[in-house]
């Protein structure tokens, strides 16, 4: 279980990193915390010619408030968020999610940008950030583009990243004081990847709701205008109005054929909705 030979570079600034990626014409992999790529290299599931270690890029470690939203550099670790070393605009939502990612050892090294880039359907951030309405900025030598997280994650282990592009930052909008947040997941054991994730961000005052069903075999199901899951209307009584049949239809549509699997997803989502709080 040793990786195939690869070249290794540890650039000092983002531009140098982007140049290396551009020069590699798609045969490079970026490593940050290495919590997913490390094992994949050792299992020879990926055999890049070049590994670009971005852990030295200070500009990707920043976390700052900007215009009411939080901008997290891609290298911010789960532990940074868990421990409150970064500012928070989600009123604790991200902190709780971070604290329940895998094990502490993974959280110490694993980064938010790496987790998004890897796009493992069972990982927490792709579901949680989609529910929070976060956007992600991708940068290459030719410039930057920004897109919603739900557009960034295309499928299982598939993102919108082009060759030569890197996740630079995540923009997290402030969670309204009236918005209820519920996050539930089911894991076979502590620290294991989830086999069902349900997320609800419901703002009865604003009559808006975002619902995410994650940890399915493909990209999470993200419902940005989730009124249909609540009988067509979001109001204070949304918990009673939650219509599991609509969610079930979404899972069927996403190709989740196994009834027991769907039932688990629905039960976990129901838990997220029922436990949602301001």
């Amino acid at each position: 279980m040793k990786p195939a030979p690869f070249a290794y570079e540890r650039p000092r600034d983002l531009n140098a990193a982007l140049s290396m990626l551009a020069a590699s014409s798609g045969s490079a992999k970026i490593i940050a915390g290495g919590q997913s790529l490390g094992p994949m290299l050792n299992l020879r599931l990926v055999q890049p010619e070049l590994v670009v270690d971005i852990s030295g890029l200070a500009e990707l470690k920043r976390a700052e408030l900007s215009g009411g939203e939080l901008v997290l550099g891609a290298l911010v670790t789960h532990a940074d968020i868990e421990d409150g070393r970064t500012a928070d605009v989600t009123r604790g939502a991200m902190r709780t999610v971070a604290a329940n990612i895998a094990y502490r050892a993974v959280r110490n090294r694993g980064t938010i940008g790496g987790s998004l880039s890897h796009a493992d359907p069972a990982a927490d951030w792709i579901s949680a950030l989609a529910a929070l309405g976060a956007r992600v900025t991708l940068r290459s030598l030719s410039g930057a583009r920004t897109m919603p997280v739900e557009a960034f994650v295309v499928g299982a282990l598939e993102s919108a990243l082009h060759a030569g592009e890197i996740v630079e930052a995540i923009h997290v909008p402030a969670r309204a004081a009236s918005a209820h947040w519920g996050y539930a997941k089911s894991c076979r054991k502590t620290g294991e990847f989830a086999h069902a994730i349900g997320v609800a961000l419901v703002d009865p005052a604003a009559a808006s709701a975002r619902i995410v069903i994650g940890a399915i075999d493909t990209a999470p199901i993200v419902v940005t205008d989730a009124a249909e899951l609540f009988g067509g209307r979001i109001a204070a009584d949304y918990k009673e109005r939650f219509d599991i049949r609509v969610a079930d239809a979404l899972l069927v549509k996403a190709g989740v054929d196994d009834p027991a699997q769907r039932h688990i997803h629905l039960s976990v989502l129901k838990r997220a909705v029922q436990e949602a709080a301001a």
């Binding site: 279980m1 040793k2 990786p3 195939a4 030979p5 094992p39 299992l43 020879r44 089911s186 076979r188 054991k189 502590t190 620290g191 294991e192 990847f193 086999h195 069902a196 196994d258 009834p259 027991a260 699997q261 039932h263 688990i264 039960s267 976990v268 129901k270 838990r271």
Partner: protein, 797 residues
């Protein structure tokens, strides 16, 4: 957590003041080394010129090898079956009638019969380079239909793992005590029950460092192994060498559990390679190799009917058991130990007038099955204890009641059961009563009636088993396998400074024997435990032994150490009497001194005189010296029977399928405990593995025979957060047949938990009409069963 339980039975130290002898709760001596990271495992060994080996393994479960293509530049670094001239395949036969022999080539020849089977061996200065070479080798394989379902493999017309057999049955056995008398029983319950294929997953995998010493004309094989002397015999057979030309050293070993009991093809390959190339070579099993390629365990299927009277009294059991033995018979236990044992141990500690059991050891295109901690008992306990809960439900009785009605009684001891197992001692009903009381069955029933605020369902389950351990010649001679344990030997040597060296052929890979065997010696000789060294794991330094398996080490090696120390003590006593100028009949050995009416002389002084000042010895001194090897067998070698009652309380979420263990009680009787702290550790460790069997561990296969859990992300093992703070209670019924009354207890912790937990889950979900008869109990299986029950209810309504 032990201290909180309040249910411990501490026993007095029989050796009195010193607190170091049999019964002392001593911290483990070896932990000073192991817990500080100073252990020395195979992968830590560095030899000059060492090169690493990686193997090309079969990517297919069943295929004909049409070609193996090696790049020109790697020709001298890649070896295939064609190179291994004169090397014999591994052959583990059984003498049981009808057993079909498999030959496992150490590198595949002609055909591959499992994913991960060794096809070529690649050697390079580092493992990474060796893996690069392995990746460059291409295989031309003609895929054959894979046999991955043991029940289908039994059917006529199935594809064949070994064509010349004509079927896929290693061995079929039949055992019957006239079942016809049970057939009119008012309660008759029939079910199919199965346990998943598992991987034993010791922290340390297998590993081999092989080197050849031209001066000694000796191959030295360092191997993470439980049974170094057996490994040596197997190696000698495969390599065509004299046993004296081979030394097997097994250094610190990070867990065995049976996985390290077999002769590996890798061991044979590396032995050949080092002699071929003249430099040391190393192979370290990685986790993927462990999961996929080397050996699995536990895969049982039962079709079982239990007959009982209305009051729960057993009338008989009729069972057909199938075990997936994998592609090859492993050395030395063979492919049939597991299944054939099912027939003799299925009745467990219960009385019944009739019994029938057919067993099938089936060959499939999977890696060989090995006896894992508990061996067949875990599956047997799972099958029978789940069935007894169904009998209880039919009879309208508490599950505990049904156990108490049928368990063997203390006044029947010693007891020969329906399969002629000889129970040495014990009070099984008392263990069950204590477990029921400590889990507080009545309180749980009350709580169940009230329901849970969170919507989960609470359930309670019990199970009980017996663990035959240290069974010897009379039992194993009948199996006709390559290994039969006889007298166990130990050597004891008093050193010139009064220390004690003990040499034993068993090995310690977590059992704490460097402490417990020292306690046994202390009990006899009174030498301070700190001054006793235990030497094990090296065929050149220890007496022959079949090694550590079958929970035999404390009974057998402990007995041998006691016997050797007694003889040593007797010799020291005679020398001491001379030094004291006493009549030998008038002196005694006590607390490390030889004492007479007028004075005493310490063992240390006796040793000093014997070795360093022999001029002070009288001319007629006994010349035997202070170094003794003695052999030992218990008075009866049919085995000790330890046992335990387990009780579990679980909470089950029927919609998400999560199972939480709320409480767990173990009431255990291991006879006299040499070190209760070590026994507690054994039980906790076994419990963790039992929880793995119950809830987490499973190696699934697809229809082409591909193992699907190839990393620990897919093969789930319980971690610290999944193992509850179990409450332990010890009973101590001495064995009448062993030194000090000890019994083997190494495996028991892993036997009962799957049954207790499954019974608790079924108890929780019984109101929903749910019944789970398969391990592990995964969230998906729970929810699927709940949905099926709901659908059945709807269609009935």
């Amino acid at each position: 957590m032990k201290e909180e339980s309040g249910v411990r039975n501490e026993r007095e130290f029989p050796s009195g003041k010193s607190g170091q002898g049999v019964g002392a709760r001593l911290p483990r001596k070896e932990d000073d080394r192991l817990m500080r990271g100073r252990g020395q495992y195979v992968a830590d060994i560095r030899l000059a010129g060492l090169q690493d080996v990686a193997f090309v393994r079969s990517p297919m479960a069943h295929a004909r090898i049409r070609g193996i293509h090696v790049r020109e530049r790697y020709r001298d670094r890649v070896f295939t079956a064609a190179d291994l001239v004169g090397i014999k395949p591994i052959r583990a036969v059984s003498g049981l009638p009808g057993f079909k022999i498999s030959e496992q080539p150490v590198l595949a020849a002609g055909k591959v019969r499992q994913v991960g089977e060794l096809v070529a061996m690649c050697v390079a200065p580092t493992r990474a380079e060796a893996e690069d070479i392995a990746a460059s080798v291409t295989l031309d394989l003609e895929e054959l239909p894979a046999i991955y379902d043991m029940l289908k493999a039994r059917e006529p017309g199935s594809a064949l793992v070994h064509e010349h057999w004509g079927d896929n049955i290693f061995l079929e056995t039949n055992y019957e005590v006239d079942i016809s008398a049970a057939l009119d029983a008012p309660i008759k319950v029939t079910r199919e029950i199965s346990t998943a294929r598992q991987c034993m997953s010791p922290l340390e995998g297998r590993g081999v460092v092989a080197a050849f010493d031209a001066r000694l004309d000796q191959l030295t094989l360092h191997s993470a192994a439980q049974m170094p002397h057996i490994t040596r015999s197997g190696l000698a057979e495969c390599l065509g060498m004299e046993e004296g030309q081979i030394r097997v050293i097994s250094p610190d070993v990070g867990g065995g559990f049976g996985h390290k009991g077999i002769l590996l093809p890798e061991e044979v390959c590396l032995s050949w390679l080092t002699m071929q190339r003249g430099h040391p070579v190393r192979w370290t099993e990685d986790r993927r190799e462990h999961l996929v390629a080397s050996s699995n365990c536990r895969e049982h299927h039962y079709k079982i009917t239990v007959y009982a009277d209305r009051d729960g009294t057993l009338r008989g059991i009729d069972c057909e058991a199938t075990v997936d033995s994998g592609a090859y018979s492993s050395y030395p236990f063979s492919a049939c130990l597991e299944a054939a044992q099912v027939a003799s141990i299925l009745p467990g500690p219960y009385q019944m007038p009739t019994y029938r059991c057919r067993t099938f050891s089936v060959a499939t295109n999977k890696c060989p099955i090995l006896p894992y901690r508990g061996v067949a008992r875990t599956g047997v306990c799972f099958a029978l204890e789940l069935m007894l809960d169904l009998v209880a439900a039919e009879a309208g009785l508490e599950p505990g009641e049904v156990r108490l009605r049928n368990l063997v009684l203390p006044e029947q001891m010693p007891f020969d059961n329906i399969t002629r197992k000889h129970f040495d001692s014990g009070d099984y009903p008392e263990a069950m009563r204590r477990a029921l009381a400590q889990i507080d069955i009545n309180a749980i029933r009350g709580r169940q009636r009230e329901g849970e605020a969170d919507g989960r369902h609470i359930g309670v389950g019990v199970s009980i088993y017996c663990e035959q351990a240290a069974h010897g010649t009379s039992v194993y001679s009948g199996w006709g396998i390559p290994m039969v344990p006889g007298h166990e030997q130990a050597s004891a040597r008093l050193t010139p400074d009064g220390g004690l060296e003990l040499r034993v052929g068993v090995h310690s890979h977590g059992q704490g024997m460097e402490t417990t065997l020292a306690q046994v010696a202390h009990e006899i000789l009174g030498v301070d435990v700190a001054k006793i060294r235990i030497i094990l794991g090296d065929t050149a330094m220890t007496p022959y032994s079949t090694g550590t398996w079958g929970s035999r080490s404390m009974v057998m090696a402990g007995g041998a150490v006691a016997t050797a120390c007694r003889e040593l003590g007797e010799r020291a006593r005679r020398i001491g009497a001379k030094l004291l100028q006493h009549d030998p009949a008038s002196v005694v050995l006590q607390n490390g001194e030889v004492r007479g009416v007028n004075g005493s002389v310490s063992l240390k002084a006796i040793a000093h005189t014997w070795y360093r000042r022999p001029q002070d010895l009288p001319v007629d001194v006994d010349p035997g010296g202070l170094e003794v090897t003695q052999g030992y067998k218990p008075v009866r070698d049919s085995g000790t029977f330890s046992y335990a009652a387990h009780a579990a309380v679980v909470a089950v979420d029927p919609d998400v399928g999560e199972v939480e263990i709320l409480d767990y009680v173990i009431v255990e009787d291991g006879g006299v405990l040499v070190n209760p702290l070590v026994v507690d550790g054994q039980i906790y460790g076994g419990l963790a593995q039992g929880i793995g069997t119950a809830l987490y561990e499973e190696m699934p296969f697809d229809a082409s025979g591909q193992p699907l859990a190839t990393t620990l992300a897919d093969y789930l093992l319980p971690g610290a957060t999944e193992v509850p703070a179990a409450r332990l209670d010890h009973m101590e019924t001495p064995s009448p047949y062993t030194q000090f009354g000890v019994k083997g207890i190494g495996e028991g912790g892993a036997i009962a938990p799957p049954a207790a937990i499954a019974n608790a889950v079924n108890d929780a979900l019984r109101p929903l009409g749910v019944e789970l008869m398969q391990s592990p109990i995964t969230p998906h299986r729970v929810v699927a069963a709940v949905l099926a029950a709901r659908a059945a209810e709807r269609s009935a309504a």
